[in-house]
Amino acid sequence: MNQQIRTIADLDRVIHEPGRLMIVALLFAVDGADFLYLQHETGMNKGTLSSHLSRLEEAGYVAVTKTYRGKVPQTLLRLTGAGRKAFEQYRRNLKEAL
């Protein structure tokens, strides 16, 4: 395998999926955001967004905090240190591959 193909093979598959890439990129630019914001920006429905977030949480890339805004439940999401590193690495690899 040549170097370029190896770089493509090394891409983080958790982040590489388009839906999750959108979520991670949006969270990378901020300290944290709530579920509603991600839903608004990505245009995903609740089920799809929840399933992507579960996958990212399993990988240790996203931290989920359940809280309340007044009486309304709110889900706050943050990229963890591992998530930030993984996204930076993913961008580097993608640049190299392209």
């Binding site: 890439l21 959108m22 990129a25 949006l26 990378f28 630019a29 901020v30 300290d31 944290g32 955001a33 709530d34 579920f35 509603l36 914001y37 991600l38 839903q39 608004h40 920006e41 609740k46 805004r69 309304v72 439940p73 709110q74 889900t75 706050l76 961008r91 993608l94 640049k95 392209l98």
Partner: protein, 218 residues
Amino acid sequence: MDQVGNLLDRPRRYYNIDGLGELGGGVVCLDFALFLWLLMHFPADSLWHQISFFLFVGLALLIRYGTKAVKTRITYPRTGFVEYRRQWHTSAIAAALGALGAAGLAVGFRRHWDMPMLPSLTGLAFAAAYGYHFARAVRWKWVIVGAIAVASLVIAFLPADVLRALGSDSPVAHPEGAKLGGIILLSCLVYGSMLLISGGISFWLYIRHTQVPAQEGQ
């Protein structure tokens, strides 16, 4: 990669999705114009002159907390909450540019530089900054960019008597000082009004096109 860059830029643009960034900026400009007007048109020993700075800071704080309150009640329930990263270097760059601008103004004033150049240059810089931050994402705001640029040129070519009259009774007795005061006052009024108009339209459009989702939990 461009699409990833675009995604990374979206949270910054989201801050003004409701037009509150522009409304806040507009009120700050008008607040500063009021501060200058009180300084220039009231004698140093009058109450208005003495409280002008506190009035300016008080209004600025009111804008800061007012914006936060409106976002909490209107924006976050409709399109979501974002906690921004604290970027100290942005504030440091803004402070350095402000200090540089003030120093340039002081030097220019001492050396009697051609003052009509001032509103054209600051106005064009302001129009460019507005275009970069707000109009890139929303096409109709290029009209505001054009209006700011044209208004800056109009201020630059206004007769000196009109500008001096605006800055009359200034504690700076020098006629160029009164003219400069008039230029800054008029520029703040014009830019503030334009920001209020564009922010108001954005806010109205935001309210019209968004609604609070059904509260079934997230």
